[in-house]
Symmetry: C2
């Protein structure tokens, strides 16, 4: 499956969950494409990789397609996750409801600061970073989230990898080196703002053009 | 420009900034495509909308392409932004270095909780939500970020829109209704985790297959 299709599956899943919550039982590829913000030809191509073609004249069964995509992504299974670095962002992530609803179960919150130990966030006590290896082994943790300041991120990453973690979600503003076989994804919180800026710039250009045209009318 | 291309421009920009920071002056479409995680045919198609075709045998000039894309997105200009809801996530966003480096200038942090007023975060004092209208007018704010709990998000959104904000980045786990002409984008922090889960699932299937094959060898 192409990587770009993989990256769109969670977006389709989110759109299907919204449709499902609104009580929609079936949807056309156009409806789903609009909800997911892609064109419908691309959506149909993507879903064809899952062997899902919908029913002519009826469309897609929302619940079944939701299950198919969740299974393909792997979020029908339980993913134990550790979060390292429980500052403001770590707190926000620990409280974020969108992880558990997608199969990600936070099993531990770790921090290097002794002053934070024992503080309870979202039902979990913050533990020492040195507990990492035991936790990864006990819970079979494959995914680690790094929410530390940038200077600590590579050391934390190395310890996660040495402990057996093979997927890392990095919120720290740092580029991480990992050995082959380990996946890293970096969250850039400014990407969505940039997409808004693109449209905002066009709105203000359109307003200027309109104002200039009105000036022309008034002047004429 | 297709919406999918618009969504990839910030990803190309991020890759070009990394190349630039490593001192790379020119890059091939393959190098840039790999750095951005797309295929090179799609990259070339996307850049053709900007009238950017690179030079045969040389590739793209990193600094010039970076400027072209930044200009197209609109991040060469200054975007004043307000953040509403200064809990853990709001604090993390206020401290996030990736906004200011892309032209987004946080001009105000607003919260409805009187106990938070006056607290200084990243050089800005938290102000009352009721100061919103004056701030939007004084700074010409077009973009608002909502980092409140879900139940407050629609009311905050309505006030932002009434004050003249026309683009909203929503971190709250709530679906927002806005009038025509207002853009809303929702950040789903679990999307990247789901992409990791997809690959993680395949890694563990590959391990199981290998283990079964080794069992077969040992058994034979």
């Amino acid at each position: 499956m192409p990587e770009a299709t993989v990256a769109r599956l969670p977006v389709y899943l989110r759109a299907l969950i919204s449709l499902s919550e609104r009580g929609t039982a079936t949807c056309s590829s156009e409806e789903l494409a609009t909800a997911a913000g892609v064109n419908s030809a691309k959506l149909r191509k993507d879903l064809s990789y899952l062997g899902s073609y919908g029913t002519r004249g009826v469309g897609y069964d929302v619940e079944y397609l939701r299950y198919q995509i969740a299974r393909e992504i792997g979020v029908t299974q339980d993913w134990p996750v550790v979060i390292v670095g429980i500052g403001n962002l770590g707190h926000a992530l620990a409280n974020y409801s969108g992880f558990s609803s997608r199969g990600f179960r936070i099993v531990a919150l770790l921090d290097a600061d002794p002053d934070r130990l024992g503080e309870v966030v979202s039902g979990l006590g913050i533990r020492a970073f040195d507990d990492l290896e035991g936790l990864v082994e006990d819970h079979g943790v494959a995914i680690g989230v790094i929410a530390t300041p940038a200077p600590a991120a590579q050391d934390v990453c190395d310890r996660l990898v040495a402990a057996g973690v093979t997927s890392i979600l990095n919120f720290a503003p740092a580029v991480l080196s990992v050995p082959d076989g380990v996946d890293v994804r970096k969250v850039d919180l400014s990407i969505e703002l940039q997409i808004l800026a693109y449209h905002e710039q066009r709105k203000s250009l359109a307003d200027q053009t309109l104002a200039a045209e009105l000036d022309g009318v008034v002047g004429a």
